[in-house]
Amino acid sequence: MSARNRELTALVPVALLLTAGFAAVFAQEGARIDDASLVYGAYFLAVCLAAHIYLRVRLPDADPYLFPLVALLTAFGLVMIYRIDPDLARDQANWFVLGLVLFALTIQFLRDYDVLERYRYTIAVVGLLLLLAPRLPGIGQQVNGAFLGVKIGPLAFQPAEFSKICLVVFLASYLREHREVLIVGARRVLGVTLPPLKHFGPMLVVWGASMFMLVFIRDLGSSLMFFAAFLALLYVATGRFSFVAIGMAMFLVGAWFFASTVPHVHDRVEIWLDPYAHPKGSGYQILQSIFAQADGGLFGKGFGQALITIPGTDNALLPAAQTDTIYSLIVNELGLFGACGVVMIYLLIAARGFKIALIAGDGFSKLLATGLTAVFSIQAFVIIGGVTRVIPLTGVTLPFISYGGSSIVANFVLLALLLLVSDRARREAGAEARLGGLALEGR
């Protein structure tokens, strides 16, 4: 079966799952099973098919599973958000379509993605400006103590979502060029391999940027996400575990220092360590999130069964259910099995992404695919780890599932870049295999 036919086949069960999800939510809300779920399912399938046909024309060799897996995440998100608030789900569906439009535009105009390498410093500056934007007076917005949003006129978005792509592109292109000097110039000091000081500069800049995010943007999650993705790239580029260990040590020291001096970060860590100290105050969200997951059991309570607001009031039982704690809501309604399913989708996306990096032909493609996959998977880890109290809870979105336009649109751009790398890598690998086969036959 060709790659695109595989993709087409995979989209059918995804649309089926969306339909079943909506049907279950409707069945719960006053037992009115009407045609609406079928209509939504058909609409979703039609939108996915449009994207699929576009891929068929533009990227015929791209990875067949990535798009269906992402569509499945979006389906999860749409069903869950609809179940919280139908109006939000309508917004989310619009964002989904807009995301696909940007996805198509990225593929259209960045077909030759090597262009990105040429503009790497411009891209890096844009990425840093995007990070800074929420602190600028007039357009910056403060959400729960963190500076995450930007509002320019009617347009509001979270720039960190876009800047992660910029930074990955920059790092991939920078490390592609400098990885050899990083390795060859390395010195052993006291049994630890240290990177050469001259080329250590960018490492310090990235470390500084993530510390800066901790202090000025107060965004613990994005800070962790950026730095972890950077270390993943550094490891893949140089193969030196000691560089990663040094980076981690630097991050931990910095994070510890700022956690004890910056009040907002300090609070987050305190809540994480002891949420029971203020069960009705600061610890409320994380505690409710854990209770909701425990309440789900093995198979969950069923679609539409979870209590999101305290009955008879408007007070939230599960705060920020459509964004931060949407994972807890899924676990509550679908149980441990549903939760494992969601985590498996992310794992499979990561596996496909790293496979693209494995078969890609040149260093930039390899590092780009690695970086995009790493930043995406780490984002999922940061928020799932947050609501399960593995790490402090932060306001990072669950990619493709959480409510939020910036997140959906930015992640579709990320997916477009991955598929672009994949298409070229698989086409080259395929051509090589065919040539190799001919040469063998001729002998």
Partner: protein, 156 residues
């Protein structure tokens, strides 16, 4: 709490379809992993740069054996590396209809000498084995491009 049978059925149906789908995708991924896990040794060129201190480089030459319009016994100094091919830009210009414009290159790294096939059409043979990517050259190695044979010589 009442359990609506339809909603329970839909929940389990949803989980079943979800897992079947994921299993199907994972199966494809596993197959790929098995396929790509095998010959990746020098497919990437990553991790291959050894971080040893440069040793005093030995004198290295490429000596023409036969073919390619070269005088047998003609010697090419390899210090700094050179390219082999049919085009006028190649350092060692060989007249061989099976050779590509820039067919292969030889370069040194940390005191060792390597040959790399530059994605040539007909490939490079190193001691009668097809060269994929790059390989280290040691004294006496025979490089064959089409009908041209060249011998690698190193003197410490």
């Amino acid at each position: 709490m009442d359990y609506d049978p339809i909603s329970v059925a839909l929940k389990f149906g949803f989980l079943a379809v979800l897992y079947l789908f994921l299993l199907w995708v994972a199966r494809g991924a596993l197959k790929d992993v098995r396929r790509t896990a095998m010959p990746a040794s020098d497919a990437t060129g990553f991790h291959q740069v050894a971080a040893v201190a440069p040793q005093p480089a030995p004198d290295v030459w490429l000596v023409a054996d036969r073919g390619g319009g070269l005088e047998p016994g003609e010697r090419f100094d390899l210090i700094g590396g050179l390219s082999i091919g049919r085009s006028a830009d190649a350092d060692v210009r060989i007249d061989d209809r099976y050779a590509s414009g820039v067919h292969a290159r030889i370069f040194s790294r940390d005191g060792r000498t390597y040959i790399e096939d530059m994605n040539s059409t007909n490939g490079t043979q190193l001691n009668d084995a097809t060269l994929s990517g790059e390989a280290e050259l040691i004294d006496g190695d025979v490089v064959r491009i089409g009908d041209t044979e060249l011998r690698f010589e190193a003197q410490a």
